[in-house]
């Protein structure tokens, strides 16, 4: 049943370590955003408006990963004032591209990049929100698919489960009528182990998938690596293919470390 019209739920958008791209996809929803704004009060969304309505909030959309002690505390405050907390994007759901630092000593980077390294206070690892607080729903992608975001809001408003599949990219690739780039052209593709959601955009343009959406529900990464090796992929390439946007996702992290230590 739709919600009672008199009690519009309040929505807040929060940013942690991220590029802002995912919350921008909310603005990118255009007409759908107007329809959402008709049903939901966009109470706190600094990217869109300076006007901020105080919490608590029915829905919090959280973008970005936790990379500082300050943020590790802030996320708990947000959790406390949110009825439903939804993480959006690869940073929030796996740690993002900045989680590449997890595989090295972060101080080495800080010393190279900043003139005054002492001013920088950063945690050793970049971690997903779910490692810190309970998350009600994770929306994957780098960036997220704006239609998926509308679907999640829609499902919330209509009190139903969001139609967000967790299977492989291959299934949406075939539904779309793409030709498998790995079989027909020998291009390495992470599609078989990647969470659906992008509508197989890269294979549609004859590129292999590089897993913006992270691991699928039950990925057999080991088998795909064996196939990549047979196709002639080097150890370095194998490490790199898993160390992308979702490098810190459990299955990808373990696989890249496995090849590094081999």
């Amino acid at each position: 049943m739709p919600l009672n019209k008199t009690s519009k739920p309040k929505l807040a958008v929060w940013k942690f370590a991220s590029c802002d791209g995912c919350q921008l996809s909310l603005l990118d929803c255009e007409d759908a955003l107007l329809a959402i704004a008709d049903k939901i009060v966009i109470a706190s969304f600094p990217e869109a408006s300076r006007e901020i309505i105080k919490g608590p909030y029915e829905i919090s959309l959280v973008e970005g990963s936790i990379t500082s002690a300050h943020d590790a505390e802030r996320i708990h405050k947000i959790r406390r004032m949110s009825k439903t907390l939804i993480t959006i994007g690869a940073c929030a759901t796996s740690g993002g591209i900045q989680a590449l630092k997890n595989f090295k000593d972060v101080n080495d980077f800080i010393n190279i990049v900043y003139a005054k390294p002492d001013y920088i206070s950063s945690l050793k690892n970049s971690t997903p929100i779910a490692e810190h607080v309970k998350v009600d729903f994770e929306l994957r992608g780098c960036p997220i698919n704006k239609l998926a975001l509308v679907e999640v809001c829609n499902a919330y408003l209509n009190r139903r489960k969001p139609n967000i599949p967790t299977h492989s990219v291959c299934i949406e690739c075939k539904r779309r009528g793409n030709i498998c780039v790995m079989v027909s052209k020998g291009i390495p593709c992470l599609g078989p182990v990647t969470h659906a959601g992008c509508d197989a955009i890269c294979p549609a343009y004859n590129r292999g998938c590089y897993s913006c959406f992270g691991p699928s529900e039950d990925p057999n990464v080991k088998s795909l690596s064996n196939q990549f090796e047979e196709m002639g992929m080097s150890k370095d390439e194998l490490i790199r293919i898993y160390r992308g946007i979702n490098a810190n996702a459990e299955e990808f992290k373990n696989e890249s470390i496995f090849h590094e230590q081999k």
Binding site: K39, S168, C170, K174, G177, Q227
Partner: protein, 388 residues
């Protein structure tokens, strides 16, 4: 117009021009003609305007997990085996809205609108593909619950079959009794005959509508010699199947060995991506989702292809019934080769080899079956020896 008396089931001979004439004739009868053409270095099925769009002089080379096109020595129109997509997508679309509803004054009403469907003609249907359509007929229209969309398309469908005179390295239609020659179910059946520099086609009608098209062509009755050559060519295809599947007692063998250690071995290789089910011309699993408008007033019920390799597919309260890759692969293979027989009185496999070719890690249903068969037979023999 031909002066020869044309009858069903008799073989006639025509030239390359007649193939164009068939296409034109079907178009004049308002059929949307779908057939093989090349896209992105692969032979797919798409709308055909003329025969120059066919993969002329091209063939496909298949291996486990690999597909490439190469040039042929001749200018054959149908000298390939099968590409990634079957004709399934036209009768059982990857995504289809099956119901629209609207909430008016708190009541939900169904929005009924008869949508126009194009009359389809499938051009260049390989015998294994035809068999797959006949199997899907059993699923979608022969049972108690009829799929309206499928039935509508199917009732108006015109099928031009092309028999295979060459088998691919991943083909095993002789094992599944679905080729290389189509026996029934077609409107027209063609065998391409290239003998030295002579390029002709043997053609026969399998239905009234086929006969109607045939009567418009400039044809003559095929000579006994030519029919003999056709038999030789078909035999050569039969004898050169790249794969084999021993179906004797296969149902019992698989169902009696659900805990065979080889399932575990397959699970180590299977990525559970679902590609084999997507490319399979008989797989028919689907998911149904309700897509509501934000205000909850309008709703569309959408059916889309799904796969038994997805965990969500077997999700019920509390979790997925088939939580491991092992159980999902076993479910797929035993359904295709064993329980399908109980369900639909036929194998679920037509020997097209797509699941072998389009599995990017190269899992081969024929080899996996053979491994289980061999190990079970060896075990039984060992046991018999001990008992003796």
């Amino acid at each position: 117009m031909s002066k020869v008396k044309i009858t069903k089931g008799t073989k006639y001979v025509v030239g390359v021009d007649a193939i164009e004439s068939i296409l034109t004739s079907l178009k004049e009868q308002n059929y949307k003609t779908i057939g093989p053409t090349i896209r992105d270095e692969v032979i797919i099925y798409d709308e055909l305007d003329n025969i120059s769009e066919l993969p002329i002089g091209i063939t496909d080379v298949h291996e486990s997990g690999s597909y490439r096109l190469i040039e042929r020595a001749d200018k054959a129109l149908f000298g390939y085996n099968v590409g990634p997509f079957s004709f399934k997508k036209y009768l059982f679309p990857p995504r289809l809205t099956i119901l629209k509803t609207k909430r008016v004054d708190g009541k939900i009403s169904i929005i009924r609108k008869d949508e126009h469907l194009d009359k389809l003609a499938f051009f260049g249907v390989k015998p294994c593909e035809l068999q797959a359509i006949l199997i899907q007929d059993k699923i979608f229209i022969d049972g108690e619950y009829v799929d309206n969309y499928y039935k509508k398309q199917r009732d108006a469908l015109f099928i031009v079959t092309t028999n295979c005179t060459e088998a691919g390295s991943s083909c095993f239609c002789t094992s599944t009794d679905s080729g290389p020659e189509a026996k029934s179910g077609f409107d027209l059946a063609i065998t391409e005959m290239i003998i030295d520099n002579d390029h002709s086609f043997l053609i026969e009608a399998g239905s009234k509508s086929g006969l109607k098209v045939l009567k418009e062509l400039d044809i003559k009755k095929a000579s006994a010699d030519l029919i003999n050559i056709e038999i030789q060519k078909l035999d050569s295809a039969k004898n050169n199947m790249g794969r084999k599947l021993n179906t004797t007692n296969l149902k019992d063998l698989l169902l009696e060995n659900l805990n065979h250690p080889h399932w575990e071995d397959i699970a180590k290789r299977c990525t559970s991506c679902g590609n084999c089910t997507m490319v399979c011309p008989t797989c028919f699993c689907s998911n149904i989702e309700d897509v509501t408008s934000l205000d909850g007033v309008e709703n569309e019920r959408v059916r889309s292809w799904d796969s038994c390799f997805s965990m969500e597919y077997s999700y019920i309260h509390g979790g997925a019934v088939r939580a491991s890759i092992k159980s999902r692969y076993r479910q797929w293979m035993t359904h295709k080769l064993a329980s399908w027989q109980e369900q639909f009185d036929t194998l679920g496999c037509v020997g097209c080899g797509r699941c072998i070719v389009w599995c990017q890690v190269g899992i081969d249903i024929t080899k996996e079956t053979q491994t289980i068969q061999k190990q079970v037979t060896a075990q039984a023999e060992q046991l018999a020896e001990v008992e003796n």
